[in-house]
Symmetry: C2
Subunit: 438 residues, 2 copies
């Protein structure tokens, strides 16, 4: 306005911030369609929604250890140092907040507590790694007092399979194991602390066999022990492969029985949708039974698991003196969306740039009241209607509708005659706002 | 598990974090109902959704000045000091991010660009003030190149009125003015810099008349000037009151004409839903025309405005060398939700603790496959069905359904006969999963 030259000198050209994605309106519409679908499936199984604050006390987040490098703390710019506040940090997943929530509101919740949570999480990754530092996760968990039926372990997988099947991301394969099998084997081999071994096996898909071998030996394991562990981790496929295992240990037998039970409860899903895979152990130490990972079979660019989780004996134990076993799975929403957007945009089916069904237009300013009334009638019938405000030569509004991929233009003309034009076909017909439908 | 005494000593009892609210599942269900309604109204007018990252560069947020006290910066805990990264901070509103987004994606957007945005924002308030430090805002804005028809100023108010009417929060009143009226008066009084005076008038509802008087005099205004300003700010009601104004200035006349035009375009709304109120100026300096505030008439505990905004000439000017006028309104979602929750819980109509329509139950474990199939048939028909997994004595599942306020229990019994019980009425009838409806 005032002085154009002066303004030019002040312009700060904004750039994307590495690791913090944002989408164009047409991409966001697809993202919303994904969220709506996921929510609908979650709710159809009776999961209720919760949201927790974006922050937790830093000490709560650090209690799990080994994550401190990834955490963003928040600080008021003008903190005067007088606040005796706890340190706060953005949550890096939804599992710790869920455990804290369950403990804090224990007396007001009904158990088994089935909840879903679809929020942003933050990881303080180094920007040069090209990883996301802010992204959505979609989680479901069931938690109960003292014991939780194994049928929920199958339900979790069934829900997430239904979710992914409806996203149109090609074939997915859920790979399931039970930690008791590997830990049972380790026990039978005289290995008391399973943590270092499970952490190595967790990397079996990413590292060469020799390296896995070397890493296990560095833990002091013998050739025979290493071979037994690696042979176990190679078992994949149906429950038949499991039955062929020489069960040497009670815990191992329990694990195989549980895994068989879960797989049998998922036998209604397509062949190859769910398989046993004993290399799956998950990196997190709190898993104690069933563990899940998921691969995109038609998007090889997506390395790693898109949807993972497992059963835990007592996740909220640090917050409350109750025994609260649970099982949960987390879908890495934003990472999945971004990979599909980059490598399979055909699957995203990106279309219109707005939710508008009809662009309503009149050439006569005196008819603007009639135009608004017509728009309101159509809206009350569930249609999304944008009134094109400027009265200009006819092709302006037509180009606007075309650019936004709005499918219909509605004309309110001087003789109060309504006409509707289908932009794709060019067909134009008379229409009544109280009866017209797509 | 292992050692209960040892565990007890490690328990960290979680407490709420001041200023970061979270809701119980039954409250969250109402919150979701609110969000769904708001989104539906926004989309029915053709607004498209966007989301921006939670952070912006600190310098971008500080460019507007006077807000630095309220900003939370984020820092990686293990920042090694070698990252040559910009400082990042959580956004404190959605207006600056929207302006930045519009400039950054200018060539990919279609103008007029109508967008809505419903995200969390953060303000680094001192905790002892009891204010929210994380909350949702629901914003709509329209922005265009070079000029934007005044009809959008009325549309904004119409959309937000429809939003609030559907939230069941009692009567609301939108109060509208046009900044050109006051600034025109100040020009005619020879006051060149309107900013200090508008900031004082913005506080006219919160401070006693004598204090407003004194503050204006401290700015060097004469008694006559002060009287004229205060008399103007007292004007409230219909457009008739405006017409009685002695128009002394072109800018003022333009403002009155615009305000009349906006009010006339809202005349289809109920009496008292929208009024002229010349004391409304808004604190933010970037508003140049229409300004809005909204009061809850039936919730006097809510002081201040629940839904505010205005027209700006060139909000994105700092980011791009284009003239982009716009108009927008922001609904303070979380603050509104919290006030209604505290002072008018009757209006929230809090009900069930889950979205479940039917709890499905069988006494016979052998029927679990039939139970799952029945549940899936009902889900495909749009019903939310929870399978009660544990086979225990009959009243366990009944109590569970009662506590969660699940309306129906579906029994799959040994002879494969389906029965459904309405928990409220106690009525129990035979039912077929392919035809049953609520």
């Amino acid at each position: 306005m005032t002085d154009k030259t002066k303004k030019k000198s002040k312009i700060y050209k904004p750039k994307p911030i590495s690791g913090f994605p944002e989408w164009l309106p047409e991409e966001r519409l697809v993202e919303q369609r994904w969220f709506d679908h996921i929510r609908k499936v979650f709710e159809s199984y009776g999961f209720c929604s919760i949201e927790t604050p974006s922050v937790e006390e830093t000490d709560v987040l650090l209690a799990k250890g080994e994550v401190d490098k990834e955490i963003y703390e928040i600080k008021r710019i003008h903190n005067d140092g007088n606040d005796k506040e706890s340190r706060l940090a953005l949550h890096f997943d939804q599992t710790v907040p869920f455990a804290r929530y369950t403990a804090q509101h224990f007396n007001e919740l009904v158990f088994p507590f089935k909840r879903y949570q679809m929020q942003r999480v933050w990881r303080g990754e180094r920007p040069q790694m090209g990883r996301m530092r802010e992204f959505y996760q979609c989680d479901i968990d069931v938690i109960n007092i003292d014991n939780l039926p194994l049928s929920f372990d199958a339900e979790m997988a069934a829900v997430m399979y239904e979710v992914m099947e409806g996203l149109n991301i090609g074939r997915v394969q859920m790979r399931i194991s039970n930690r008791k099998i590997l830990i049972g084997l380790l026990n039978s081999l005289g290995i008391d602390n399973p943590v270092p071994v499970t952490r190595i096996i967790d990397k079996i898909e990413k590292l060469a066999p020799e390296i896995i071998n070397d890493l296990l030996k560095e833990e002091g394991l013998s050739d025979e022990q290493v071979n037994k562990i690696i042979n176990l981790a190679k078992i994949k496929g149906t429950t038949d492969n499991l039955n062929a295992l020489a069960i040497e240990n009670d815990l191992m037998r329990e694990g195989v029985e549980e895994l068989n039970d879960v797989l049998n409860n998922l036998s209604h899903l397509p062949v190859d949708a769910v398989i046993a895979d004993l290399s799956i152990v998950r990196g997190l130490d709190y898993y104690t039974g069933t563990v899940y990972e998921t691969q995109l079979l038609d998007v090889p660019e997506f390395t790693g698991s898109v949807c993972s989780g497992g059963r835990y004996d007592d996740l909220a134990g640090g917050f409350i003196n109750k025994h609260l076993p649970g099982v949960g799975i987390s879908l890495g929403f934003s990472r999945l969306f971004e990979v599909i957007r980059q490598s399979r945009p055909d699957l995203l089916d990106i279309g219109p740039k707005s939710p508008t069904d009809i662009l309503l237009y009149t050439e006569d300013k005196a008819l603007s009241s009639e135009a608004n009334k017509t728009a309101q009638t159509l809206r009350q019938r569930g249609l999304n209607v944008e009134v094109y405000a400027t009265v200009k030569k006819w092709d302006k509004h037509f180009n606007y509708a075309k650019k936004k991929l709005i499918p219909y233009i509605w004309y309110v003309s001087a003789d109060n005659k309504h006409e509707i034009k289908n932009i794709k076909t060019g067909e134009q017909t008379n229409a009544n706002p109280t009866t017209w439908s797509k």
